[in-house]
């Protein structure tokens, strides 16, 4: 079991290497010149050349990549071309905001998705099932930015139940303030995932409920709660967890839009700013960090299979 997890962790390294190479080359493929951006708007040709040499941009491409990678391995992501701040500092400032947002969105999605999925899956074809399935279809087809605007308009502006925008860390505003500011963005961001989870959970519960071992569980006199929570859910969990892992990447992507709408100073806002300004070191750092997170989540998902499916443990 330890070796399975260990092997997975080792497998992360080549993926990170490939992604780092791709992002590094990407910045050279897009139009724009890093040296002229760093030198500022009114720089002369000589000044730009000077900056180019200072940044090492005149060296061969592979040499640049190698030295950048060497810094990255040591924990240095370089400095922003615009603000001259350390990329790592910018990232670590923005990270808690995005983590809070995606985590809350994930929790919302899990709670809503499991609940609706179980209710629907236990009685397929019933009125409750039809309602849940319809809600799920709506949730999947609704763009998150549109839902976000509706939520802001109705819940924040008309009902005044939540702040319109902005972010408060737990340190500044306490748990309540933090939660209030993130509630609407998390719901807007998590709705698609919740809908996807509803469909997966429903399908899993319907499928597992027809299995012989569920009949066995009923036949030996277990209360319905145990039959559903213990015997059905654990077997229905693998596709659900898989989808959850896949959705995490989507959540991070969605966070870029949602952070913009709610004015949250997270990775998404940082991403938009740095892309628009062609601040390559920040973009590279962002992509690497997000890749790392997505890989870690899929590692977590793979590890959870060991718990849900005993057969995996032995192979």
């Amino acid at each position: 079991m330890v070796t399975i997890v260990g092997r997975r962790i080792v497998a992360i390294v080549p993926v990170l290497l490939i992604v780092s190479f791709l992002t590094f080359s990407l910045t050279y493929l897009v139009p724009g010149d890093a040296a002229s951006i760093a030198a500022g708007d009114n720089a002369s040709a000589e000044q730009i050349e000077l900056v180019r040499r200072q940044l090492g941009l005149d060296r061969p491409f592979l040499a640049q990549y190698a030295s950048w990678l060497w810094h990255v391995v040591q924990g240095g992501l370089g400095t922003s071309l615009l603000s001259s701040r350390s990329v790592l500092t910018s990232l670590t400032e923005a990270l808690p905001v995005t983590l809070s947002l995606t985590l809350l969105a994930m929790l919302f999605a899990i709670a809503a998705g499991l609940l609706l999925g179980i209710v629907a899956g236990l009685r397929p074809g019933s009125a409750l099932d039809r309602i849940a399935t319809t809600v799920a279809s709506l949730g999947i087809s609704m763009p998150s930015f549109w839902l976000a605007l509706i939520l802001v308009n109705v819940v924040a502006l008309q009902l005044g139940l939540a702040p319109v925008a902005g972010y408060t860390s737990i340190a500044e505003g306490g748990l309540t303030g933090w939660f209030q500011h993130l509630l609407l963005p998390a719901v807007a961001l998590g709705t698609i995932t919740a809908a996807e989870l509803t469909r997966q959970t429903r399908a899993g519960v319907v499928d597992v409920s027809e299995q012989d071992y569920i009949r066995t569980a009923v036949a030996k006199g277990l209360p319905t709660r145990l039959v559903v929570v213990k015997h059905t859910l654990k077997n229905a969990a693998i596709p659900v967890v898989t989808v959850l892992g896949l959705q995490f990447g989507g959540l991070v992507g969605g966070a870029i839009v949602i952070e913009r709408i709610f004015g949250l100073p997270g990775l998404g806002t940082l991403a938009i700013d740095s892309v628009l300004n062609q601040d390559f070191p920040v973009v590279q750092g962002l992509v690497l960090m997000i890749t790392l997170f997505v890989l870690l989540v899929s590692l977590l998902v793979d590890t959870s299979y060991l718990y849900f499916n005993p057969k995996v443990r032995q192979s």
Partner: protein
């Protein structure tokens, strides 16, 4: 039939929904199981025997089935009057069931010990430790070697026969009064079949647990059961003591089943079979439901008059009109070595 039966099924009708409405798949099931006795419920696929067994457990699919009439009494109490919640404490403690497919009847996500122990915990309120100890104990009773170690393993590490033993261990963990075994050996290798049957029989004798054995295999019946009910097309057609049934069947269908047993074949001759198939619930023939397949059917009688299950002499009953009229005396019969052995065994037990 004395004493008072443990399980008594009377006039049980079961209907399943399909596109054309409700189809009656069991029509007047009638069955007794004595306390500590072993009753076989025999018939081809589609005769309604498994559905009857599931009805006793209350395991019929709730949305697609209904029971318009009938009684299923367990020690005098009509189980059909009970709600799901009232039925739950009876399942596992008084009634237990094992199924045809041991490969899929155990939950792959939990150890076999846990699946037995949870039953014990739910019904007796035992602690985790005590329930686990009981699980190991019953696994030993059903012949799982190294039970203490095997209890902590998952179902996929067990063979089919061993999984059926685990199912039996689970079923007997709370000492039920009646075990319903639905084709318990059909999915197993022949060598394993005999061992499982021997185990069931041993448990039945040592724990005085009654057994209702649902099977299509009359060979199994001869090995195991005291009494037999033969079902055809959703109705019981013959009821008898096992030895008497084998010695002189009192319904042409029973006789056909007996002749179709591989044990009754003669070397060099083809195996006998009953022509045709069990009619569908929505296409029941008029008169006797078996008459289109029956070599003894009489025109103007069997295709018109709907027979009832009527008592013959003493403990026997038959649904055959011509038997009831005394027109058919000698149906082909079977006396193979198994019956001789069963008879000898029965004598030994009663003396």
């Amino acid at each position: 039939m004395s004493p008072e039966p443990l399980l008594r099924i009377r006039d049980l009708r079961i209907e399943f929904a399909d596109d054309d409405g409700w189809q009656r798949v069991v029509d007047g099931a009638h069955l007794d199981v004595r306390p500590g006795g072993a009753r076989a419920l025999v018939g081809e696929s589609g005769s309604g025997k498994t559905v009857t067994a599931l009805a006793v457990m209350g395991l019929l699919p709730r949305r697609h089935s209904r029971i318009p009439t009938g009684r299923i009494e367990l020690a005098g109490q009509n189980l059909l009057d009970l709600t799901e919640r009232q039925l739950r404490p009876i399942r596992g403690t008084e009634l237990a069931m094992i199924f045809q497919e041991p490969m899929t009847s155990l939950n792959p996500a939990y150890t076999v010990g846990e699946q037995i122990a949870e039953t014990v915990r739910v019904h007796t309120g035992a602690s985790r430790k005590d329930a686990w100890r009981r699980a190991v104990e019953v696994l030993g009773e059903v012949g799982i070697p190294a039970a203490a170690r095997r209890a902590a393993e998952y179902p996929h590490t067990f063979s089919g026969g061993m999984r059926q033993r685990v199912m039996i261990a689970m079923a007997i963990s709370c000492r039920p009064k009646l075990l319903i075994a639905d084709e318990p050996t059909t999915a197993l290798d022949v060598t394993v079949q005999a061992a499982i049957l021997a185990l069931l029989r041993e448990l039945q004798e040592t724990t005085s647990m009654a057994v209702l054995l649902v099977t299509h295999d009359l060979g199994v019946v001869a090995d195991f059961c005291d009494d037999v009910t033969v079902m055809y097309a959703g109705q019981p057609v013959e009821e008898a003591d096992t030895v008497e049934l084998f010695a002189s069947p009192r319904h042409p269908y029973t006789s056909g089943l007996l002749r179709a047993m591989p044990q009754s074949a003669h070397p060099g001759l083809d195996l006998s079979s009953i022509p045709g198939v069990v009619p569908r619930a929505d296409r029941m023939p008029p008169g006797c439901r078996f008459h289109p397949r029956c070599s003894h059917a009489q025109e103007g009688l069997c295709d018109i008059v709907e027979p009832d299950l009527l008592p013959l002499d003493g403990t026997r009953a038959s649904r055959c009109l011509r038997i009831q009229r005394g027109e058919l005396d000698e149906l082909s019969r079977i006396v193979d070595d198994r019956v001789v052995a069963a008879r000898a065994d029965l004598d030994r037990r009663s003396s």
